[in-house]
């Protein structure tokens, strides 16, 4: 069974020195505006914790996110854009709320959809300042502090954009914000 003193796989050294190819990587990843990811999500708040499967489709500013429990039930559907999102829990139970605060208001989850859509691609949210950023030996963003969140980005894998240029995207994102945690482990990315 797992040894108790194992370290998470990304505790290798990182540097705050911006790598040469970072601007180019940032530009390429920012141009990817139509994508879907699927994997598993974990949410911890001071008084609850959930895990489940997630499918997230992003088309420019519009997104649809489905989260369901590991046995398939106990899920929710979210459809919206950066301003408003509609949350469906079952056929006749839906709410429309500002995207910025929707999941905080509805489920007491800190789940910043507008920022996460950048963080999951391994880049900062361009709409707010970066407090600090660290890069792994391959020049990818390993750690980011933004909007009070501390984000670890791990397990980068190569993918091809629509124009066939290779880009590296993270397959594990762990984000913390005073007593809250959102973790995403991704089985696959599709770039359209």
């Amino acid at each position: 069974c797992t040894s108790i003193h194992e370290l998470p796989e990304d505790s290798a050294e990182t540097s705050t020195q911006t790598p040469a190819q970072w601007q180019q990587h940032l530009k390429q990843v920012s141009e990817v505006k139509h994508w879907t990811l699927s994997g598993k999500v974990g949410v911890i708040t001071p008084n609850q914790s959930q895990t489940g499967y997630i499918d997230w489709q992003q088309d420019d500013y519009d997104f649809s996110i489905n989260i369901r429990g590991t046995l398939g039930f106990g899920g929710l559907d979210l459809h919206g854009n950066q301003d408003l999102v509609t949350i469906h829990v079952d056929e006749n139970n839906q709410r429309t709320l500002p995207t910025e605060i929707a999941l905080e208001r509805y489920l007491d989850w800190e789940f910043p959809i507008n920022a996460l859509k950048y963080w999951v691609k391994g880049i900062p949210d361009p709409n707010s300042p970066v407090t600090s950023q660290h890069f792994n030996p391959s020049g990818q963003l390993a750690r980011l502090n933004q909007q009070g969140w501390d984000i670890r980005l791990v397990n980068y894998e190569k993918h091809k954009t629509k124009q066939n240029t290779p880009i590296a995207l993270p397959h594990k994102i762990i984000a913390r914000y005073n007593g809250h945690k959102v973790s995403l482990v991704l089985s696959d990315w599709t770039l359209k």
């Binding site: 040894s3 003193h5 598993k40 008084n47 369901r68 046995l71 398939g72 899920g75 056929e91 762990i174």
Partner: protein, 191 residues
Amino acid sequence: ADSGDRLSALLEGMNAYSANFEQTTHDAQGTVKQRGKGQFILEQPGRFRWVVKEPFPQTIVSDGESVWVYDPDLEQVSIDYLDERAAKTPAVLLSGSSEEIRKHYRISDSRDTLKEMFILNPKDEGSLFTMLVLNFVDDQLVEMQIEDSLGQFTKIVFTGVSLNPSLAKDTFSVSFPDYVDVLDNRKAVGQ
């Protein structure tokens, strides 16, 4: 005997049970959303180990009093009292007493030449699933079906069933690295 008694007799017959399972989840339109595989070990009363191997490992273990849900990739463990989880995890139901089941579910059954089917509809509002179906063949659980309020439908097929398996000592416990976040909800209940 009413369906409740018959189901209880079958579950009691499962006092020690182990099987592999394959899970498929469809959305309301019937498209496959999720496939998974794993292993399930049950020892009455209340002890079980539900291990998902694919697509992402997850271990759910109950020692009869508390339930641990460990997701290694998400670096996260949550601990609840067993009866708190009743509405959330069907596996808890399989290890529960028949009064527990009758308290939480309306039970009906139907039978054909091949199998006995039990349909459970939760009585309590807060339940996350709207219907649970348990299929038995030759008195052995072979399939579980779960439907939720979004119309998502999950089917779990059990194979390689063995009754009274020999169990390792640590079957109903789980260990994890110390960097994992542990959320012990039992404290919230005010021990």
